[in-house]
Amino acid sequence: MGQIIESGGGGHGKGKKRAKKHGAHIDMTPMVDLGFLLLTFFVLTSQFSKPKTMEINMPVKPKDTLNTTKIDDETAMTLLLTEKEDRIYYYYGKFKPETSILKTMDYSKDGLRKVLLKRNETVIKQIKELKEKHSKGEIPDTTYKRLAIAAKGDKKAVFVIVKADEKAKYKNVIDVIDELSLVAEVGKYALVDISPAEKELVKVSGM
């Protein structure tokens, strides 16, 4: 392995030994062995997948209650997360104990994602158009970003409130936020505490 091959050096001289033309050859096998050993070691120990991250910006604690965001009946949607790892309860609009209709869905593509995509259809369409224009080079980077943010923050855009109770798993909350911000292009969402009335509603619904 890895040897320098030597063609016959001397042979023409009659009885007279000539010095070899080539330099002394070195056996490289151990070095190569070591090389591969190191290679194997580093291949096996190196970490490829760098951890990914999501950025969350919580609102600054309001000094007065006047400044809080109003929940709009038209655009608001509340997701209730409980200990059940395959169920999300949700309702639209403001919470009214008597009239709010609780629906359920699961975390799969056909559950949460479908509902969100349908609910946020117009914004997603707008963003798609913007993306197309951007990739064609019709609008510059900064304009694209500005318009995308504007579309997400539009008055008509969906506003999602995520309420997780004490027993909900962190994983589920992350799944929901992930789905909201990265798949369904929801620009406005909030993590809020669940109220006792809502807990009761989930309990009563028996779903």
Binding site: S49, K50, K52, T53, K169, I174
Partner: protein, 213 residues
């Protein structure tokens, strides 16, 4: 007619390119290798579609399945000042060797009362303490985690300002929690951040593998 002579010895193969390539790879892996830090707990983070890579410079709160909180922060000088301030507040005194040892600890999750034992112990004792520990307390009466965060953050800000580190490389806060942790704990930690007016932070996740869904 001349006959084609077959060589008597086995055909020789020139291995030089292969060896060159092997060493090139070795060099590459040596240079890019990023050895995993010795972590007190194993945490399996949930997955997401996010493609943002975690910044290098973070103040990290790790939470395991049982809801125990661990804290880690880089920077020797920052850690030294942070520990001294904490010691003052909780009336725990540290010797010079303690402080030096503390500056190189990777991650810790013990209440202040146990911290000196933890610092003075060797790897084995530390592992044992980590096992039995309840994590850094963070309830509103005994909010040590909040203090670590506040002092650490404060020191880090001072350090970044005096060293003229560009704003985009400034430290961020991150939560690395196990997917099975109760959301209650995470909510509490976010609450701790918010009490200190730290409203922007990162949640560490893994790459999503679509087939799992």
């Amino acid at each position: 007619m001349s006959k084609i002579k077959m060589p008597k010895s086995a055909p020789a193969l020139d291995m030089t390119p292969m060896v060159d390539l092997a060493f090139l790879l070795v060099t590459f892996f040596i240079l890019t290798a990023n050895f995993r830090q010795n972590e007190a707990v194993m945490v399996k983070t949930p997955s997401s579609h996010s493609e943002k890579i975690l910044p290098q410079n973070v103040m990290l709160v790790t939470v395991d399945t049982a809801g125990r909180a661990f804290f880690s922060l880089d920077g020797k000088e920052v850690r030294r000042n942070m520990l001294l301030t904490m010691g003052e507040k909780y009336k725990v005194s540290f010797t010079e060797t303690d402080v030096t040892r503390f500056t190189i600890l990777p991650m810790f999750g013990v209440p202040m009362a146990q911290l000196t034992d933890y610092i003075r112990g060797d790897d084995k004792t530390r592992a044992a303490i980590d096992q039995a520990s309840t994590g850094i307390p963070m309830d509103s009466l005994n909010n040590q985690l909040g203090d670590w965060i506040a002092y650490g953050w404060n020191e880090k800000q001072i350090f970044q300002q005096t060293n003229n580190i560009p704003k985009e490389n400034w430290c961020r806060i991150a939560i690395k929690a196990d997917g099975q942790t109760n959301y209650k704990v995470i909510k509490r930690i976010i609450g701790v951040f918010q009490e200190r007016n730290l409203n922007s932070f990162n949640l560490i996740t893994d790459m999503e593998t679509e087939q799992a869904k």
